[in-house]
């Protein structure tokens, strides 16, 4: 039964301050979302979700068509679409370009896709400085850790943690007031913006019919990142496509509300290529890197494909009682929470972190809030079946398999079941006593697991079927 989940899980649970930070951080986002979709504020919320789901389904089902379309439309604006298979290809393209243009400094605005590709690390290996400019991302970059949350990368940090990091990494006096911390970061980052040669953004949506990249944010960094440097590179997974600009009226209504409870984020940028003649600002060169990195594997199965509908709003993380306990760093990849548990095994193979699809009570809170209606619990169940099938092939978990075969056999034989139940009860503690630790004859992993957290009620003197027979 050993789940082989990471140590991090236990240390997170044992850290009272961290528990508070996670619970409060996600709790705030839960409240904001709730208020934003409450009652008559967004009466067509459920219809929007259905609409968004259908739009995503249509796009993913016809992805080849829309990829071609976006390639043409970006080119028509004077930009270039670059298709990359993985992080190495993305890094190679950027490194090459940087070399040709003599670039040294890159500013970045928040992008989960580049986190997924370990882009910063790859670039730094080649002496290119890549600086995150979103405050949360900047903090975790300084701290040298991966984002804790899809939307709020430093969700787990208190302002005191931030003060420590700033003192340590920037060599400044300790400052614990959040507004002042923001000013400190801003002062550093303004200089970087001015000196940067390349700006890299992610993309929330890539609009096929207009060849535009849409980025939503609250700090304005993406806007600066994409316009101050001479070169703008947008990096996006191929699943970020949507067919038409008008479809944004569905997605933008859902994204901000689901993520942070905002009807619209402070900035919504439509970035469509380099500066044109007569325009006063914008980059001189524009590249849209569309990355596969395993996504086409998910396209193969018509049922699993829905994993690619995700618009990375983070709502499923906030509402997940498991994420709220184990936090973002217990997950093996940069994508944490329910959506992470669903896509990680599909990208990396179910053999790599077989515990992940099982780390769920299947409560369904994720699916309930997902703005694009991904059936996450169903995907988790399917992945569990994949894991057991994989283990069978590998000759692993023989005991567990045997146990479930016995279970199924017993459940097909009512007499054995009835007898077995009574034998088990007879072995239980006598005299109506509760169990709080495992007696020697019940010293097995599941019982120990249960009793590590909870007591076990005394077994019933008679089963229902006995009582019924005797009545």
């Amino acid at each position: 039964m050993a789940a082989n989940h990471p140590e991090k899980l236990s240390t997170t649970l044992a850290d009272a301050n961290l528990q508070l930070a996670i619970y409060a951080g996600t709790g705030r986002l839960i409240d904001h979302r709730k208020n934003a979709i409450a009652g008559d504020l967004l009466p067509d919320y459920e219809d929007l979700r259905t609409h968004a789901n259908l739009l995503k389904k249509h796009t993913i089902d016809n992805l080849d068509y829309y990829l071609e379309q976006v390639e043409q439309n970006v080119a028509a604006h004077g930009g270039k679409v670059v298709f990359c298979n993985d992080g190495t290809e993305v890094a190679d393209f950027i490194l090459n370009l940087a070399k040709q243009r003599g670039a040294k400094l890159i500013v970045k605005s928040k992008s989960m896709t580049t986190e997924e590709l370990d882009l910063n690390e790859r670039l730094e290996h080649h002496d290119l400085e890549a600086v995150e400019t979103d405050l949360g991302e900047y903090i975790i970059q300084l701290a040298g850790v991966k984002p804790y949350h899809i939307v709020a990368p430093a969700l787990h940090m208190t302002r005191y943690d931030v003060a420590d990091i700033f003192t340590d990494k920037l060599g400044i006096e300790r400052e614990v007031v959040p507004e002042k911390q923001t000013m400190i970061a801003r002062a550093v980052l303004r200089q970087k913006f001015l000196a940067a040669d390349i700006g890299i953004t992610g993309a929330n949506f890539v609009v096929a019919d207009s060849g535009a990249v849409v980025v939503v944010e609250n700090e304005g960094n993406a806007r600066l990142t994409s316009s101050a440097p001479k070169i703008h590179i947008a990096v996006a997974g191929i699943e970020k496509l949507i067919p038409r600009a008008q479809d944004l009226s569905v997605f933008l209504k859902l994204l901000g509300r689901s993520a942070t409870g905002q009807a619209l984020t402070s900035y919504t940028s439509f970035l469509s290529g380099p500066r044109r003649q007569g325009e006063v600002d914008g980059p001189e060169e524009f590249y849209l890197i569309l990355v596969d990195n395993g996504r086409t594997k998910l396209l193969a199965d018509p049922d699993r494909r829905q994993s690619l509908y995700c618009i990375r709003c983070g709502a499923c993380l906030n509402h997940c009682p498991v994420y709220r306990k184990i936090g973002g760093h217990s997950y093996p990849w940069v994508y944490s929470g329910p959506i992470g548990a669903v896509i990680t095994p599909q990208f990396h193979g179910v053999g790599k972190d077989p515990w992940l699809p099982f780390a769920s009570s299947l409560c369904g809170a994720c699916a309930e809030v997902c703005p694009v209606k991904i059936d996450i619990p169903k995907l988790l169940l399917d992945l569990r079946a994949d894991v057991t099938a994989h283990k069978k092939e590998q000759g692993e978990s023989k005991m567990e398999r045997f146990a479930f075969q016995v279970f199924a056999w017993v459940m097909r034989h009512p007499r054995v079941y009835a007898l077995g139940g009574r034998v088990a009860a007879a072995f239980g503690p006598k005299g109506g006593e509760w169990l709080s630790s495992a007696p020697w004859f019940l010293n097995v992993a599941p019982v120990r697991g249960w009793l590590s957290q909870r007591d076990l009620p005394p077994p019933a003197a008679k089963s229902f079927r006995q009582i019924w027979r005797e009545r």
């Binding site: 409560c363 809170a365 199924a408 079941y417 019924w468």
Partner: protein, 241 residues
């Protein structure tokens, strides 16, 4: 309407909480329904299904189909087991058209207990009386798969002497999750503690649910924390007078 109901007394209720089954039968008889209990019944197969053992779950589901082939109304004291049958059996037989048809017919005949009372028997008050302050825990599968939310509360509101107080996080999972509760014991325990904190804040002396598995989890955590809050299945409350 034949006014005969077949009980599916889930394995947890049968073995660990038989009084829930007895109470369910008592309530149904009180409102004029004759009860069948086929002792060939066992389990819905959910433990195997949720653990990724589909073939094993399928074989248990086949047994269930056999046992309840002729039952007109099958009443179940669990949202989770009901949902296993009505929402997941079909996945087990997706590639078997004939079986799938049987499952489709079964789905329409399976009723979670509170829903059966309200929608088939069409009763709200069953003459129950129990003096207590109660808070209702929404079990996840009942809430999110079966969309059962107001029904049990309505039934509780008709219990004489009972005051219902909502907890803040009524809809949050108790952390049971079947084998999850032992495979990820610490996480599961943490979830239970969050839940009982919210229960405690209401000042209730009874937590009510329509799932005995959630109640076992909450009861175990409450007992460990030495809190004087009892757990009761809705059927037990409705049987009291």
């Amino acid at each position: 309407m034949s006014n005969r109901a077949s009980l599916f007394v889930t394995c947890i209720v049968d073995q660990l909480f038989p009084n829930v089954g007895v109470s369910m039968a008592a309530v149904l008889e009180r409102i004029g329904w004759a009860i069948d209990f086929n002792p060939a019944q066992t389990c819905c197969g959910q433990p195997a299904f949720n653990s990724g053992y589909r073939a094993e779950a399928r074989s248990v589901a086949l047994h269930f189909l056999d046992v309840f082939r002729d039952a007109e109304y099958i009443v179940v004291p669990s949202g989770s087991c009901t949902s296993m049958i009505t929402h997941h059996f079909s996945e087990l037989f997706a590639a078997e058209p004939a079986r799938l048809e049987e499952v489709r017919s079964l789905e329409k005949r399976v009723w979670e207990f509170s829903r059966f009372l309200l929608e088939v028997a069409k009763v709200e008050g069953v003459g129950a009386s129990y003096g207590c302050v109660a808070t209702y825990h929404d079990s996840c599968h009942a809430l999110r798969e079966l969309k059962i939310k107001s029904g049990p509360r309505l039934l509780l509101s008709k219990v004489k002497g009972l005051e219902l107080r909502e907890m803040e996080i009524a809809e949050e999972c108790c952390g049971f999750g079947g084998t999850f509760s032992v495979k990820f014991a610490e996480v599961s325990g943490g979830m239970a503690r969050t839940k009982i904190e919210s229960i405690q804040k209401t000042g209730a002396d009874v937590v009510v649910s329509i799932d005995s598995s959630c109640l076992m989890q909450l009861q175990g955590a409450l007992h460990r924390a030495k809190l004087p809050v009892r757990t009761m299945h809705l059927a037990e409350l409705l049987a009291s007078r």
